[in-house]
């Protein structure tokens, strides 16, 4: 891939830091010729969130911080409230050049898992029939086409583009979102779904990390709570920012049209429900590709017993397939959790 991706990483880091300074490290210097980013050192005891989730560490502020990051960085970068069409289209045009990395996502997330590809792998032979079932699942393939089209065409907001649990560094008190080299104008649900989907992967992997000291039951409950809180807090923060800035330019939802409380509430509910269903679809796509696609996650890979690992993976896969196909039937995140 082109080294130009460092330009988009640095640019996205700066914009996201401006909008969410507590959760995005500061960029001190960027040299485009050298593809060099000088940025804040994220000091110990920060670790990659995924490592913490595998170790069974609770992060009580994680949902609060991640929902804040997602609400702040999207609401100010989407047409739904503050940016004018002119700003929006010029930013869309700029990030269209980050195309190589979008093509990579299109291939590894939305295409390869659904066809025979030399890059795919899975816990064989245990998941052989599961992987084949994905490739033969007509309804699933209809749904993934719709999600792929949204990923390619819906220039809703400047998104991180790769918001899984290895793009987040944490301590008990601090949450830092890094590595936005995949940033582009895409559907917001892709970020929310990436984060939630990877929390679900962590959840389904827990049974593989049980030992005589820890049955992981309480930890599994904490992960599910964190998923619930992430979405519900995001909903609250995003709509609250929307309310606060109601006198802003707000191209799509201008105040003179959506001019009474009931209507404003209705329009927000509709917008957020569409976003919720997008997020669930993308969460499912991100889960499936981590089990039968090219890039796997340490949550499962670190389970050395392959029977145990494949059992965990199969449960995650079945959950994800159901989530992608039935996403429009879920009205609340609690409904989703109850299926998991």
């Amino acid at each position: 891939m082109t080294k130009e991706r460092s330009y988009f990483e640095a640019t996205a880091l700066k914009r996201q830091h401006d909008l969410s300074p507590e959760h995005v490290p500061e960029v001190y210097h960027f040299d485009r010729t050298m593809s060099l980013i000088g940025m804040r050192y994220i000091e110990p005891p920060h670790i990659i969130l995924r490592k913490g989730l595998i170790a069974g560490v609770e992060y009580p502020l994680l949902a609060e911080h991640m929902s804040e990051f997602m609400a702040n960085t999207t609401v100010f970068n989407t047409l739904s409230s503050l940016a004018t069409t002119t700003q929006h289209k010029s930013a869309v045009a700029e990030f269209c050049a980050n195309v190589e990395i979008c093509r990579l996502t299109e291939q590894v997330v939305f295409s390869d898992p659904y066809k025979i590809s030399e890059f795919n792998r899975w816990t064989s032979p245990f998941l052989d029939t599961d992987a084949e079932a994905i490739r033969n699942d007509k309804i699933l393939k209809l749904e993934v086409a719709e999600l792929k089209s949204k990923f390619c065409e819906k220039t809703q907001a400047l998104i991180h583009g790769d918001l899984h649990t290895s793009s987040v560094m944490v301590t008990k008190d601090s949450t830092q979102v890094i590595d936005p080299e995949f940033a582009f104008y895409g559907p917001m649900g892709f970020d929310i779904g990436a984060f939630i989907g990877n929390l679900f992967l962590a959840y389904f992997a827990q049974d593989g990390h049980v030992d005589h000291e820890n049955d992981r039951k309480a930890y599994k409950a904490w992960i599910l709570d964190t998923i619930v809180n992430t979405w519900n807090l995001f909903y609250k923060k995003f709509t609250s920012l929307w309310d606060t800035h109601k006198e802003g330019p707000g191209e799509a939802y201008i105040h003179e049209i959506y001019n009474d409380l009931e209507l404003r509430e209705l329009v927000k509910q509709k917008y957020m429900m569409d976003l919720f269903h997008d997020s669930l679809g993308f969460a499912a796509a991100k889960m499936i590709r981590r089990i039968v696609g090219v890039a796997h996650v340490e949550d499962f890979e670190s389970i050395s017993d392959l029977v145990k690992r494949s059992d965990c993976e199969r449960r995650a896969l079945d959950f994800a397939k159901n989530l992608m196909k039935k996403r429009r039937n879920f009205n609340t995140i609690i409904d989703v959790i109850s299926v998991a």
Copy 2:
């Protein structure tokens, strides 16, 4: 507005002429500095289609030609089949610069008719309560927000952007699509809807053009037939081009995934149904704005008896409101016609 729009008009004319040479005039020369377009003279007896529709002239090839123009110019410019993501994103970026003219559409089509605006006008006092009802219709305003977001965010294909019946010149044998200065990457349904919506305006205006020589009944039936044929022929031509080019790059619907006949048929049906519902929504938006917004159409304006004119307009408005709100309940274009 900026004179740069002539650059986008010339560029779109060239691309559309390449893809649909029989229905788009050739550009011989473009001078960007002078904003000068040298193009084919569309000779008499070609007239603006809207004039023909008011005069009650039948154009037997209109649906055939317009469906061909819409299928050819969109299928090769959308991600659904032939363009790679790289080509798509670079073209999207280029046309993002045509933003001023997009902003104009956003305002006059999707905003002004739904709020009090100094630019709005209607056949007063006859339609005063109708115009007010639009501004107070919560469900309608929810729907128009979704359509506006799609217009602003969905970079589906290079569209004409202003495909009403005054952007088409006709004889009995020839159909020429002109004036694509509003061209940008947007939702395909916006073009299809513009054309169909303007045919419906022509249909509802016919009762105002009845005289003792012609009751216009046969002509009304011809307009409805033309609407039916336009959509059905577009469906046939678009999906047939999709089939023919199945071995092309086809980023969203690659052959190895959508690899059996049943699945290919399913995915096409789903895609086309979404496009149908988009088209109906945009058709309704384009009708409403021509009756209570800033720019009106000669179809109604040429009816000098204001009572008669406002009766025609009210029927069109009621039909359009219903169409926008219920568009997802229509499965075929015949269902739509039966409501009209």
